[in-house]
Point group: D2
Chain length 377, copies 4
């Protein structure tokens, strides 16, 4: 694991999620830019001290030298955005599978390099757009794929948060500081951090691709160098239209990722803060509330649900589904077997690239006076 | 009353709402283009047959000739869009106050004429943007006016319906037929019918004015001449930004008018299908659910609430608030008194004009390749 | 109308509800024990002053002498409990139909007398257990009647309010004062006022009858002479079991009448504060949310719904359904016709009697050390 | 770990929860009555094969012989009810701490023995009433403890499930079969399995003790030997009154544990299927929705929350809080330190005993014709 040192938020989600299903064990880490902190964190995880490394370079190099069966099986990257590309590249070049946080890299060029490396090496590469790991998101995908909603006409994918309503970055807050610093975050804060989730969610569920965007991107809190709010009109490759918006100045919102999709015969709605209900609305029958763990759920939803109905699963479990599916794929490869189709359903380097292209597209659109900007593929 | 003949939907809402508070009595009507139907409807309302008129022209002329105290006090207009202007004009010119359904007219020029007539005559003119009649909408307005949310930064006002997901207009459905006919509906269906409500709601609650729009307006069901869906980016006069969207092809949605407003210190959320809860979210304390009939509600909300907490009021009551407030204003005028400030809080001819301008603006924007179109005042 | 003078809460609900559908007009009243107040109230309703009577006795006598077609058609009783019986008796004896508030009388003996009078005269007698007037309550009844839930096994009917959490009756509060005074309220406050609604709701929806009760009735606020809370185990005539509870010291609750019914194949849930949703849960398919105004609703629900889906109807509309159905029945009788079956679906004197028996039964049980007390029929 | 073999539901919850926070590692197990299955399960957990034992007796004996630091630190018991007591006793007698599933034992006498053993040995003993591990349950406890609701007057604690609506036990369903078999389950099914949770939840949150019960316990599905539904009136040691009910024939309900508590100044409500919201209702201000991860939460809630607001935590995380708190206590003891007060907040052998006494009490009450039965302490 790279990153996840003391004070890390996303690092903790990764470790808890990865260990959830007793398939994955944390064996080594370069947890922090400060080697002392890395050692400290390793101790907290009861690691062999020799495997709490000073740098990710050292880790990849030394782990590679360990005998098969003892060395790490894959690398998790949980660092700030500007330290995604290098460890990913190095891991791939040294034969390690990768699970990387999003956005994939700090610029699209690097993202393309990773795509090429994955294609050349054939290694597993997951990007933790974890919200698509929820069983009810998978159920939504299956409902649309089955054609029950008919042709999709409209999509509204939104991601309001309120945590950057005040200039938190001036108070020493770690996440706020690096996220609003272009050197670490890249060319976008809000659209990159959570706008990409909103894109990923809607493309995952509908199977459609955004082809054009019209973006209004803002800095609402004075003094910032990067966006904290953005509204985007979108058009899809099947002629559907919609809205994607992301905001970190929607005061009072926690983490309100929500999607609504409407087809010719019905619509559906899912919201992340109450993730265990999928609302499906029909033209010809009552509204349905679908919940995980029930016999009428799709195979894909069932594959990603751990318990019978009524035992709420949360973000760690959704995140854990990515890890479990990655582990299942790696395990099957080690055994020379084809993994089950359901296990292959996790976000990959291609989703990561698409996120980078989304950032480029909406920033370009925001700077343009033309209404429509082609999605930059 | 003009309109509201057999089969009318909105006419029934008007009569039920107007009579709710025992201040208004239906005394005459020209209920239908077919005089026989008008007579029939008059009978159903137990009217004096001589006051169920053949045409609104006849009604206005004959009622004017009745002695004061016997003639109608004001005219309600509940006809399709293309028959809003003429009866309104005639009523004003003959000294009658008016309550008109929206949109105000079929084009902005006519709307301006009505504004001038109202200004010249000093008569009361209400436009039934009834959703702002709900007590919790008024509460939202008061919370923002008080500054408790701080400066407003973002507004999302949306109005999804699903009833035009199929080509209902080809089945003889009365509302669908005239609404999708440019000759009766004007230059827009969806944005005119419900987009104007979404605009009115957000401008009413925030006290802000939209200054620029960027619209993507669609015809999703083949063969239609008017829009059935539209997404609009908006900018406000205080630099806030937002989204207004309206849709009649959001399959499975009933009448989902909803607004979210975010300021520097908190946000609020209201949805029409559950109108008795206003959700307020804060940066520094738990989410609040405010409900009508409670002592902590604002005076304005209380003025528009009939019963103690827990006795749900619906659309008729909200609609009835406009009628009651209009009646109170007329009554006070008759008695030479100033009406209470709360009674003056209803949508007027200026709101009606603004709705017409919104239609013009979004249609112009939809036809433009430029990102931003100035709101056409 | 008897009662409904200045300051009355329930009186206002009656007049608004009655006039809602343009079938009923308020023509006379004895609105208050104080004749001056009665005159005042009559003026507020724009009544002919000669028909704002000093007493209900005078009203019934004088109205009877008016020619047919001019005199009142039926009497509404909206007074405190101890003035329900006399006006009802007198009205029936003089040939007037009656709509009475609940509880029917102040004691069971009087209730039986009214039943006999109704049976002898054949007059229409409605009791305003208005919550069964909601369309989604009627839908619940039809779902159970159709057998879709299978045999009913369990019922939980609850009615928590919080308005008597403090000794409000000592502050001059009108409703609190008479409701907690045994002379005006009878032998029970909470169980009589709202416990009877909870009983009526569950017997109406399920078609079952309570046969045994085991009650724990309390006075939680010191100094009261009548109950402000009560929990009751119940058994039904089909072997189903359940709970009925009512409370006025459930601090923070507004008017939370709620019912859940479970059968062999599914369950349903309805709550009064959000009355436009009926939740139905199944063993073999997803949860359904049924809302009024949709084509899949039962005929009975449709008959009691005024508008298309998404236009919320509240308590006035539910209450108005009783009045409209009564008016339809009276109208049909006047015309010598059989009213439609749907119009006959309103609570009658028999429901009123059952409420009185419920009060007797739970008070007897509360005073007994035996677990079960037979429902006193 | 005892139990948790192939097909186990609760075993999986235990392992996932225990490993969540990287403090606990599964080192050995006697997973199944069939030693072959035990080996199989051990392999699935990547255990040293020598530590996948044939019986819990063998495990306890052999682990005890391992050197300190290598042997297991505590024993988790996840077997059916009739195999709770023996492993618990043996573990305590051999110096191992215990985490046991509930009910504590199969009869109260055994439960008392465990209490005595815990008192004699001073070992840590947790019982997994996991629902009290949710942060919002802890918040509810703290609100009441702080006195903000005033003296508690009424409690309604309910636990409806629907999974035993049909005779599932005749279909080979593992959980249904043993739970409905008196030899394995003890004298109660429904009240023992989930009624005890409802009791634990209400006593935990309120700090009150039930002193009297009046129970109506049913077998609704023909042919069963143990209860599948029960309704209980209860009285508390501070004169509060309330209702506890549990049901497994509430068709369509998933796992609907819910509690409402009302005091003099307000009430609160929490429901397990949406565990991340605590609703607090006040006499003097709007309803509040409190959610975990926010700065205004109590220290106790914060101690048991892993992530910032808006990242839903589910049952595994609640369950994990017990394990983490137990591990923290054991760790502190090993280091000779006092654990933090928050870590001591988990259900112990005394809660387990109370659950057993509740079963005895309600079964005795159900068989009695007297209204009230003293809670059997």
């Amino acid at each position: 694991m790279v990153g996840g040192g003391p004070g890390s938020f996303i690092g903790k989600i990764h470790t808890k999620s990865a260990q959830l299903d007793s398939q994955i064990e944390l064996v080594c880490g370069a947890f922090d830019v400060d080697p002392a902190n890395s050692k400290l964190q390793g101790k907290e995880y009861y690691l062999d001290p020799s495997r709490a490394y000073d740098t990710f370079q050292e880790m990849i190099s030394k782990e590679k030298d360990l005998p098969e069966g003892r060395r790490m099986d894959f690398l998790s990257i949980t660092t700030p955005n500007h330290v995604h590309f290098e460890p990913a590249r190095l891991a791939l070049e040294n034969g390690f599978h990768v699970v990387s946080d999003k956005p994939l890299t700090n610029n699209t060029e690097d993202a393309r390099k990773l795509v090429r490396l994955v294609e050349e090496t054939g290694l597993v590469f997951a990007v933790t757009h974890a919200y698509t790991g929820y069983p009810m998101v998978k159920e939504a995908k299956e409902i649309i794929r089955s054609g029950r909603l008919g042709k999709i006409r409209k999509v509204v994918s939104e991601y309001p948060q309120g945590w950057l309503s005040t200039p938190l970055e001036n108070t020493g807050h770690m996440q706020a500081s690096w996220r609003l610093d272009p050197a670490m975050s890249g060319k976008s804060n809000c659209m990159g951090d959570i706008g990409t989730h909103a894109l990923n969610l809607c493309e995952y569920i509908t199977g459609l691709k955004v082809t054009q965007v019209c973006a209004d991107i803002s800095i609402m809190v004075e003094g910032r160098k990067l966006d904290d709010d953005g509204n985007v009109l979108v058009r899809f490759d099947n002629a559907a239209r919609g809205i994607i918006y992301a905001s970190q100045i929607s005061a009072g919102e926690e983490n309100g990722l929500k999607i609504r999709v409407y087809g010719e015969k019905g619509g559906l709605e899912w919201i992340q803060v109450e993730p265990n209900t999928l609302i499906v609305k029909w033209l010809d029958k009552p509204i349905e509330h679908i919940r995980p763990g029930n016999p009428w759920c799709s195979d894909l939803a069932k594959y990603n649900t751990r318990f019978p109905a009524g035992h709420p699963e949360g973000l760690i479990e959704a995140f854990g589904n990515i890890y479990r599916n990655v582990a299942t794929c790696i395990q099957h490869r080690l055994e020379g077997k084809e993994p089950p189709a359901e296990a292959l359903d996790f976000p990959t380097v291609y989703d990561g690239l698409r996120g980078m292209q989304f950032i480029d597209s909406v920033i370009a659109s925001a700077e343009s006076e033309n209404k429509w900007t082609k999605f930059l593929e």
